[in-house]
Point group: C2
Chain length 363, copies 2
């Protein structure tokens, strides 16, 4: 069974296909390629698992592959340059189609290359991690990191389609799978209390990657993301709620030099955001605790590493792009399903969160 | 007197202001800045002439400057990286405004940085060369070069405004001024026979940079460019006629490693395009000769350097982005003011042009 959702963006609208064995579906995948050339961009780990399959699917085209090293530390302008060199060396024209086969790093780099190679070529997202599938592959945010901050170089650029083959999640290491669950939990927190409750009741099924539970979690997450992106493509307003936990999380990623996976940092960041919401009097202590407890039930980290000082966190958050003219904006929440973007909160609440250590959302 | 033209692009529309002493016009320039931060991007040569003036104009803002080396050879991903580093080091937020003060290289790099820094910030074009003023600053094409081809990395990204202060042209070296005249001639060739004839009668006045003649030439050029860009922002169709002479010209630039200025290469490229048009039977020999003669009257080069073989030109044109799925498209012209983009022409005519050497448009 294949489910199709649509990201509604006028002439830039595109479908998200969720199902099994989509990677082998030549007819369906080919329908999103308009030229003769295809470049599959992937990393060493994913290439070993799925590159030949996808290459065969696109056998009717002039297809080549660019295999990049695996890891967030390679999400750089230098790796982007390597990909551009590959496209030039293989004489890809403006009519080419890039296919991002991999997780968020591959999707973000490939999307940025698609946005900027010859001022823009077509691309298709084929996410192979849960995180990419429910988050980064949908919505057109593309980027690479700068040494001083995550995603500081990038563009808004929509894919032609997102192909979410749930079979690829079978091979995902448990740690990476759980990192994706952190973003799934986020959708419940920011937009859908009922989904949050469903997650609380399906922890065991999701830990076991039960097919039906996973299907429901992915489709619900993508539907929420598509709705938010459709309402605000370029993050002038509501879209910023998708960054719940991210200002804190990005700071942790930068300071720990990507020792945590993105989803793990965001898990900690969400608990910090819930903690600040609670300390501001926006969020009840019981709900804050439920957020922390659900993430912990999935085995995700829920407190920052002990060696990160409040000063370090403050510094790292200061260069984050959520700073508007010197005033920090945060995504906080009034309750499950009710997140807001605001720069009007008690700075003392934020400060208390930064110094709380392991006592987040606890008292 | 200040003339205002508008590039009509819906919500991305913006004005082109043409006049004198605009660089000192704090009220007018400030109206295009919405945040508190301004970063002036310029090169060493232009900085010495106008940076302090412009810095004073923006004195009411938090203003800093990034001074890049001068020259087309620096229009690279590496220089772009230097600019991004500057923006990060000076903590520019998403609400910042970049001001490109300089020629086409500065405008293109700054525009690309604006398109991609934090996924897009505001920018203003302040062109200080005739070439940038009538061409690259208008229309939202931003880019850097790749070692294998010009403008291969970039984005379509519109400025908030183009501020064309004609006084800055007073300090322009004659060679650079004439390189800009090449693009002015182009507008006559592709879209406006009457303007072409006016240019033929005003060679002496333009060589002397007569104020009224220059004003007319700049406004007419910008009006034509704005109309073409307004009709086809992303070069899906008619906009490509602005590339008249550019497929040939880019090949010459690449092969001579930027020994010619862009406008000089385009001058040669236009004569080659006219020559191919003539050999295809599209263009009368008399008109082809008038195009070559007008460019020569301005002292511009009109034949490729003798050491460039047809094979080398063919190779360099092959990687150009005007290649669509292996078939080369050229901008040719049916007469003055009547250019077309086509991949239907006699390949023998192109071949004859590539081997014609100094006999272009002559027999």
């Amino acid at each position: 069974m294949i489910s199709t959702l649509t990201v509604e963006l006028g002439e830039r609208s595109y479908p998200i296909l969720v199902g099994s064995d989509l990677l082998r579906d030549t007819t369906r995948l080919s329908s999103f390629v308009s030229g003769r050339q295809v470049c599959i961009v992937t990393n060493e780990t994913v290439a070993a698992l799925y590159l030949e399959t996808l290459r065969n699917t696109f056998a009717g085209f002039a297809v080549d592959a660019c295999v990049l090293p695996d890891g967030e530390q390679y999400k750089t302008l230098a790796t982007y340059g390597t990909l551009i060199d590959h496209l030039m060396a293989n004489r890809h024209a403006r009519t080419t189609t890039l296919v991002a086969l991999g997780g968020g790093v591959i999707g973000d780099i490939t999307g940025f290359a698609a946005a900027t190679y010859q001022r823009g070529v077509a691309f298709i997202q084929v996410p192979t991690t849960l995180l990419a599938l429910v988050d980064s592959s949908v919505g057109g945010k593309t980027a690479v990191n700068h040494p001083s901050g995550k995603n500081m170089i990038g563009a808004f650029y929509q894919p032609r389609a997102v192909i979410a083959d749930l079979e690829t999640l079978r091979t995902l290491p448990q740690r990476e799978y759980l990192a994706g669950i952190a973003e799934v939990v986020k959708y419940g927190v920011i937009r859908d209390a009922e989904f949050f409750a469903w997650l609380e009741h399906n922890v065991a099924a999701l830990l076991a990657r039960d097919r039906d539970a996973l299907n429901h979690a992915v489709i619900t997450s993508c539907r929420i993301k598509a709705a938010v992106v459709g309402a605000d493509e370029r993050e002038d307003g509501v879209r910023a709620i998708l960054n719940f936990g991210h200002t804190f999380g990005h700071a942790i990623e930068t300071l720990t030099r990507y020792e945590y996976l993105h989803g793990e940092s965001i898990s900690i960041g969400m608990v910090m955001a819930a903690d600040t919401s609670k300390r501001c009097g926006m969020l009840g202590a019981g709900t804050a605790h439920r957020i922390k407890a659900l993430l912990a039930a999935f085995g995700l980290p829920v407190v920052p590493p002990g060696n990160l000082t409040a000063a370090a966190l403050r510094g790292a958050m200061g260069v984050d792009k959520k700073v508007v003219d010197g005033r920090i904006r945060l995504v906080l929440t009034h309750g499950l399903g009710d997140a807001v973007v605001t720069d009007r909160f008690d700075p003392a609440a934020l400060e208390a969160t930064l110094t709380a250590g392991g006592r987040l959302c606890e008292d």
